[in-house]
């Protein structure tokens, strides 16, 4: 399973996961009342500088964020036309800054570390029946299911093609879900038997 984590050891990787997440939470609260686009553009420049400080993988990662641009620029254009260009600049820079900041945390924190920080936080939910262990099991199941489901879809559409000679349409969704649900019952029995 591919993750959005960049595996290397930069200065950002060495900061503990908890500190990065806390910093992100504080920044998200502080940035909301800022209404000065110049200030926000400086913040964005600083975030870009952090990406560059991570070396080549950081630059590649920044480049991969370009898929966000159409949406953000669309919002900016719309807002500029119906409201004012100043408010459009503020929201575009604010969105870009927060997205980059959060993405930097994701890029520099392995999934396991993220889990380690989060699991103690869900401990209070024990009262309503959510155990940290259950959450960890569920996350592991999701990550395992994604390639399994993708392979199952491929196998079933191959079978469809072999029988009919045509490409499978969206009708394949029904046997796909049906079989997936049947498999979950087997998996549940296996987990129950192992405990």
């Amino acid at each position: 399973m591919i993750s959005l984590y960049i595996s290397s050891t930069t200065w950002l990787h060495r900061i503990p996961a908890g500190a990065k997440l806390a910093g992100l939470a504080i920044a998200s609260v502080l940035v909301l009342p800022v209404g000065d686009w110049a200030l926000l553009s400086i913040a964005c420049t600083a975030a870009v500088a952090v990406y560059f400080s991570l070396g080549a993988p950081g630059v590649a990662r920044l480049w991969s964020l370009r898929i966000l641009l159409p949406l953000v620029l669309g919002i900016g254009l719309f807002q500029g036309l119906v409201m004012s260009w100043e408010s459009a600049l503020v929201s575009v820079f604010r969105i870009l800054f927060m997205v980059m900041l959060a993405d930097l945390v994701t890029a520099s924190t392995p999934m396991q570390d993220m889990m380690r920080v989060v699991l103690p936080l869900v401990a209070p939910f024990k009262l309503i029946g959510l155990k940290p262990k259950t959450l960890a099991l569920s996350v592991a199941l999701v990550i395992r299911f994604i390639p399994v489901l993708a392979a199952q879809w491929a196998a079933q559409s191959d079978a469809w093609r072999a029988r009919s000679g045509r490409r499978p349409g969206f009708k394949l969704i029904i046997p796909f879900i049906s079989r997936a649900l049947a498999r979950t019952d087997q998996i549940a029995e296996s987990i129950a038997a192992r405990k």
């Binding site: 399973m1 591919i2 993750s3 959005l4 984590y5 998200s28 964020l65 898929i67 949406l71 953000v72 919002i75 719309f78 807002q79 119906v82 409201m83 503020v90 929201s91 604010r94 969105i95 927060m98 997205v99 980059m100 900041l101 959060a102 993405d103 945390v105 994701t106 890029a107 924190t109 999934m111 993220m114 889990m115 989060v118 029946g129 259950t134 959450l135 569920s138 996350v139 199941l141 999701v142 990550i143 299911f145 994604i146 399994v148 489901l149 993708a150 969704i173 029904i174 879900i177 049906s178 997936a180 649900l181 979950t184 019952d185 998996i187 549940a188 029995e189 987990i191 129950a192 038997a193």
Partner: protein, 205 residues
Amino acid sequence: LQNPLPQENNAATAINAGIGYRDIVRIALFAALIAVLGLVPKFDLPLAAGVPITVQTLGVMLAGLILGARNGALSVLLFLFVVALGAPVLSGGRGGLGVFFGPTVGFLVGWVFGALAVGFVYQQLLKFMPAKRFIAALLACWLGGILVIYAFGIPGIALVTGMEIAKATMASLLFVPGDILKSLLAAWVAARLPVDRHVTFGASR
């Protein structure tokens, strides 16, 4: 957690009484299903040229219809948790904490309540019209899968961008035709799925 394994699995039921691994595995399955739907390449809707629509809402609707209100909402929540941990499972390979600060955050939150509403409305409607699964599922998807999701999504856009609600609504309406298509597909799947695979029905077994 309720919903123990069916009676024929006596050994497993005895071990599993009251734990509900079946629920956990199904919740995880639908979370993964939403992720797999994100791998389906984005297709452009001819009605609103160039507006990318994601099929992931289809998974949200199906989770509510097939797993029921509680488990459906939990599976969306689990999906978002995996996204937050950094898995690139949102459509277009997006993921990580960044998406929770982007303009679509309201829609992501709305998915959880959308699945909850879809499951709840579907189950209520089926009490009145048990034979009309397609109609019941379609109404549930319109109410939960579209109305509720937008009720969270539009304020989300307004909050992140500082846009007025009315203007954010105008911008979001472009996506509604795609959602209507997805609700038709979800209702059709729910109506056609064999009844014994259908947890909404299976729960009363």
